[in-house]
């Protein structure tokens, strides 16, 4: 079986392989994080055909045929995505461990809704945890990215 990850066709011999483990340990894409293993913290969020998915709760077989984007596939030609740049500009991070998950969730949101309200941003990101407590900055960063995208 093959799956598409960040635009590349990759071998996936075991359909029942946990998607997060496959990405992190079999492909070495460690930017997608393990936080709880129960789908309750959002640190493992990836995009499948543009839709956010908690990788820890999925298998390779469940996303076969889909196109997976991880945090490593977001920047294009060395240029940060508008959401990534906004997180840098707002210093929306401390330890940074949760940040890839937030960025993937935010990209998924902005693809659906280009100009979300503050409440919409909050509802969309309510399943992602940041224990450093940088939420106020994260919210600003997502609204900033929305404002700057065409």
């Amino acid at each position: 079986m093959k799956v598409t990850v960040n635009g590349d066709q990759r071998d996936a011999p075991n359909q029942r392989r946990n998607l997060l483990s496959y990405l992190r340990f079999d492909l070495g894409l460690t930017g997608t994080k393990y936080g709880c293993g129960e789908g309750l913290c959002g640190a493992c969020t990836v995009l499948v055909d543009g839709q956010p998915l908690k990788a820890c709760m999925s298998t390779v077989g469940a996303v076969a045929g889909g196109s997976i984007t991880t945090i490593e596939g977001v920047a294009q030609n060395g240029e940060l995505h508008a959401v990534q740049q906004a997180f840098v500009d707002e210093s929306a991070m401390q330890c940074g461990y949760c940040i890839p998950g937030f960025i993937m969730m935010a990209i998924g949101l902005l693809d659906r809704e280009g100009r979300p309200s503050r409440d919409t941003v909050r509802q969309a990101l309510a399943g992602n945890l940041c224990r450093c407590g940088t939420y106020q900055r994260i919210e600003k960063a997502v609204l900033r990215a929305a404002g700057e995208s065409k």
Partner: protein, 685 residues
Amino acid sequence: MSEAGLSIVGDLTAGFPARPGGYGTRAYGNTKPSGPRARWLLVGADERVTVFAGKVEYGQNIRTGFAVEVADELRVPLASVDVVLGDTDEVPWDMGTFGSQSTARVGLQLRKAAATARELLLDLASRRLDLPREDLILGAGRVSSNADPNRAFSYGELVGDEEIERDIDDDVVLTEPAEFTVMGSDVRRIDSEARVTGEAIYSQDVLRPGMLFARVLRAPAFGATLVEADTSAAEHMPGVVTVVRDGEIIAVLAEDDESAERAIGVVQAEWQGGPKGSSIDIPQMLAETKRDPVAVQGIGDVEEAFRTSDHILEATYYGPHIATLPMEPRAAVAEWDGDRLTVWAGTQRPFGIRTELAGAFRTTETNVRVIATEIGGGFGTKSWFPPALEAAKLARNAGRPVRVAYTRQEDATEGNFRPAALIEIKSAFRSDGTVTSWQFEATHTGPMGYIAQREAGTPYAIENAKATVYCSDTLVRVGSYRSLGAALNNFARESHMDEIAAQLGIDPFELRMRNMKEPRYRHVLEEAAKQFGYEPGAAPTNRGIGIAIGEDVGSYVATCIELGIEGKDIRVRRVVTAIDCGLIVNPEGVRNQVEGSTMMGLGGALYEAIEIGDGVVLNTSLSRYQVPRITDTPDIEVVLAGDSNEPSTGAGEPGIVTVAPAIANAVFDATGQRIRELPLKRQLR
């Protein structure tokens, strides 16, 4: 330690806390540094400046802070500074990254190192250009002639391929705050790109060639011991390479994480012992097992004052165990090369872990290298880091590198919790609000008295004041949490001050100002109140406004908050905190830390509590342990109220100590209900 370029070396005392007694070297398993000197700074022929420090980065933003300090003292662009942290083979010894000591002590050491280098580079340029030092200026990594800017040498040209070594000049003149070009202005994290692209490598992300994935058999409860275990089924599970028994460790090693997880699940084990209490028993346990009193404060005669006073108030406050819960569960990878051991670990204490590893394998510390990776949150708890030794033992047995990565649940049960605390306060006061006597008795669970001591003494100018702290039994392993015991000690004291104000019908701000003489305290309270738009009123006013002040690690904070009660919910809407942490290196970093401290304090104030039943922690899962989410976030404003001529003090911890009492006081202001037990939402009627 020499290599081409200018090396600035110095002693290691900067890596030792200002008040080591407050931490206890034995409790943390540390030994004092054996090497007397180490390299702190290298100016290379390639024009790069490299900073070496034994501190680690777990979100506090010290990597940027150190780079900023060195760039300013050395007059180089920030982009030309590299920072090496937490690798025991590369950096000066350090006791550990805790107690908000990084900027206060190591940052100052690095400024001196950079200033020493600057002076030497001036000397070198003076000789090469045959000009007196007064005719030279430094800037952008060059020394040039004042009269003719074309006559100049870059720092790289000045140091060349020589190996030059100089001692830090302790008396070197540091740059005055008015002359700062980078320090004191907002600087973005120098490591932010790695954090938004997934390139930053945390301990959970370390993968080595040939590495095995381990799962260790865990006791069901703290203190339980193994009677027997049958591992035969696990040995035959697919993907399993071996099952290791080494001392108290039983572990499955497999070629992948899921095989290890399945195999550990079929190990049959019988356990016995361990405390059998439940969380509802803890207040009684604290009262009954309190021991090892330490007198923290003793002024005047409290008993005499109680006998002669008109107004007496006695109240007891309680805070439960809460989870530190950093987003990254602990992980370590160990790799042996002959007798030489390398461990990658997301720990706040790489040198202490090195000491433990060297002791466990009866080898010298020079044979052990601990590399602190990026760390996904710590908040104190990652000083305790058992997976490093587990991985090292298993790797030795297997003859291959081994990864021990905790699950969310293991990180709770094998980690540690903030101690619960029972705090009894008795006060006497006059009708005008002057507090005349103060007795503070705090018992924090567990054996670590230094946790209970933090900010147990009253900072108010009270003629008779006595504070005593105690240790006690515990049902779970306890350890460091942001601000140690200060958050609960402050909750009790600042709640009690509000109770006095309410009893007398005095405005809470006014009561504090009447009893507080320390100007830095008064200043932060005034600044917070001003920014907040505080209007006086004797609580309860039904407005839902609360204030609190506090001090931790030498910094002063004051917080004003506003909240609303919505049914049984408490919604904190706005928080203003003023902080005085002396000289600020990066205002952006201080604001971020205070915002984060506010959110962490909010969880502990409103809903966080560890539930224990029959000795077992019941709510290790995020489905049963509520932490603040983005939907709980109030508007947070941070006022930087310090004087840049005062030495830098900590910014990572103080912002948490005022949050719980300010919220409790605001709940009283909104409802008239005084809640003396955290978490508040549980007690709200």
